[in-house]
């Protein structure tokens, strides 16, 4: 039983990372109705920038982290204004193609700029694990979990309770209504992308210490994050968080009881099963095309 609990608890770290990555994806999807397939690659840039700031420029890791995330925001806003804006209003397949193209482009440029050798980057929080009852919790994991929950709760309040949040939701549904409320759709989209990429970037930087920092490091995490988003329901913040932790726990249990090698396979199986049985996931809106 202790083994089981420990596996669950140590899954909080990666669960939080998947939750954060899925949150980033969801934030963008909520306003622009686009699944940003390049989210992993963009997040990797953030991690790389943090590394450069920390290792090459000698800045303390926390500061490097913050700067990189701000940079990520800028990257997201730029991606939206330069590329995605041009294909607004086109059939959904165009958005998919565009973000996939960006995935290749960004990943390739990251490889060219930083090389493929794995880099080392320290954790934001370090120190001994904290003992809670029979299990040990890593400080960093606590931070990640706390961050994921804080962002999710903050966003929930923002969307549900503030006027600006309401307007942002309106932009996704109806541009005319939003403009009546005095909100510029351009601005909202750019900011959503900025925040989305920043959040996923946070996930990448937090994951980097554990899984060597390379241009392709987010590839696998992206699959887990997609599984989380699908399980939770695309477009649902609560779903992204719940999905992220669920996937993290399941993956850790698989690794603990079976083998790490099976993780991706079973997570993929999970995606297919969810899509087949309940495409809207736990909290999402109906996903099926009308029969």
């Amino acid at each position: 039983m202790t083994v089981f609990l420990q596996l669950v608890v140590s899954a909080l770290g990666f669960g939080g990372i998947y939750a954060l990555a899925a949150l980033g994806l969801t934030i963008i999807f909520k306003t622009s109705n686009v699944v940003n397939f390049a989210f992993g690659a963009m997040a990797t840039v953030v991690a790389m920038v943090a590394w450069t700031a920390n290792v090459s420029l000698g800045l303390p890791i926390a500061l490097a982290w913050v700067l990189a995330i701000l940079g990520g925001g800028a990257l997201g806003a730029a991606a939206e204004s330069v590329f995605l804006r041009r294909v607004e209003g086109a059939p959904p397949i165009v958005g998919i193609v565009m973000t996939l193209g960006l995935l290749l482009l960004v990943e390739g440029l990251t490889g060219l700029a930083w090389g493929y050798g794995p880099k080392v980057i320290p954790n934001v929080f370090s120190g001994p694990s904290i003992a809670i009852g029979p299990v040990f919790v890593d400080r960093n994991d606590l931070f990640i979990t706390g961050l994921a929950l804080a962002i999710a709760i903050g966003l929930h309040f923002f969307y549900a309770r503030t006027r600006l949040g309401l307007a942002v939701r309106a932009v996704a549904e109806d541009a005319e209504v939003a403009s009546l409320m005095g909100i510029s759709r351009r601005w909202v989209l750019a900011v959503s992308w900025a925040v989305g990429v920043a959040v996923t970037g946070a996930a990448a930087t937090l994951a980097a210490p554990s899984i060597s920092l390379t241009p392709t490091m987010m590839d696998n995490i992206a699959v887990f994050a997609f599984a989380a988003a699908v399980l939770g329901g695309l477009g649902s913040l609560a779903g992204a968080v719940a999905g992220g932790f669920a996937v993290g726990i399941v993956a850790n249990l698989i690794a603990g009881y079976a083998s790490t090698n099976l993780q991706l396979t079973l997570v993929f199986a999970l995606i297919v099963v969810v899509l087949y049985l309940r495409p809207q996931g736990l909290f999402g809106r109906v996903a099926r095309v009308r029969q």
């Binding site: 390739g108 297919v272 495409p279």
Partner: protein
Amino acid sequence: MLLRRARPVAAARAGATSQKAATLVVLAVALVFPLFEGANVSVMGIAIEVLTYGLVTLALNLLMGYGGQVSIGHGGLLAVGAYTTAIVATRFRLPFIVVLVLAGVVTAVVGLLLGLPAGRLRSHYLAVATLGFGVAVPQIALNLGSLTGGFTGLIVPTPYIGTIALNEPVPLYYVALGILALSVVAIRSILASPTGRRFMAVRDSEDTAPAMGINVGRTKVVIFTVSSFFCGLAGYVFALNNGIVEPDSFTFSLSLFFFAAVIVGGLASIWGSLIGAALLVVVQQESVSLGGFSEAILGAAVVVMLLLAPGGLAALPRRLRGLVAGAWRPHPEAVSAAGPLDQHRAPPSAGSPGEG
């Protein structure tokens, strides 16, 4: 009646004739190619790779360009075809044609299963599912060690026709060329039939299709299955060309590359698929020294194509002809430069539940 005057028929005929001429020239070159380079093993290897990738992009274009669905997991399907080839050939002594067909059929079955949810999902969900598939297949191969040889993979035994060893460069080249040519003929045949028209109807207007007697869900599954079949055939050639089938050959990037090749070459265009495949091989070869180069180039190409020339490279000649002939007017032929990615399409009107 306010009908536009039809463009001169001569222009249409000229377009079709030049296409036929181009096809013959390319075919002729392809046929005599080994006479010049047959002794150069690496060049032949690259040529066979072009043919293999050409078949994959053709299969993928059938799904995406003509079927309107998205897949970023065709690398996984290629893997299924290749592994089937290796596994079957290792265990049984069968004529090569049987192994080839088996590779196609097994992959088709996998595609059928993968495509079943496709019938009722929006495009981004299918994209995610195929993404997961593309990532999972190499891992599954890694894990089923007893069947697939795990990390080290399987060596593909040499098939023979009489005394000719099929995995020698020149014979394999001709086999690959034959398979590709037959596949092109088969796909064109399908496209000009009720089945093909059904694919395109579902692509263009899913809500109107049932009124024409089209079972949309079933049609989507059929496209997936057919696309997978051809991908399986490509897997056979891939296995023979590489001599060994191992998980590392089928990265997620490969699936993305195929996707990019189709987009850049041109959706809904057979020529486009082949051009895209050739481009892909060239880029990969050039970037062996500089890591990340292929991804950046292909990614940039996709983005640029999307913004400037949505019809892909295959549509360029027509666009240029249109520009040269005067004001940019639509070509009278059924297939024109405007393609599935063109943003001239109006968004679905309020009355119809559009896709996505």
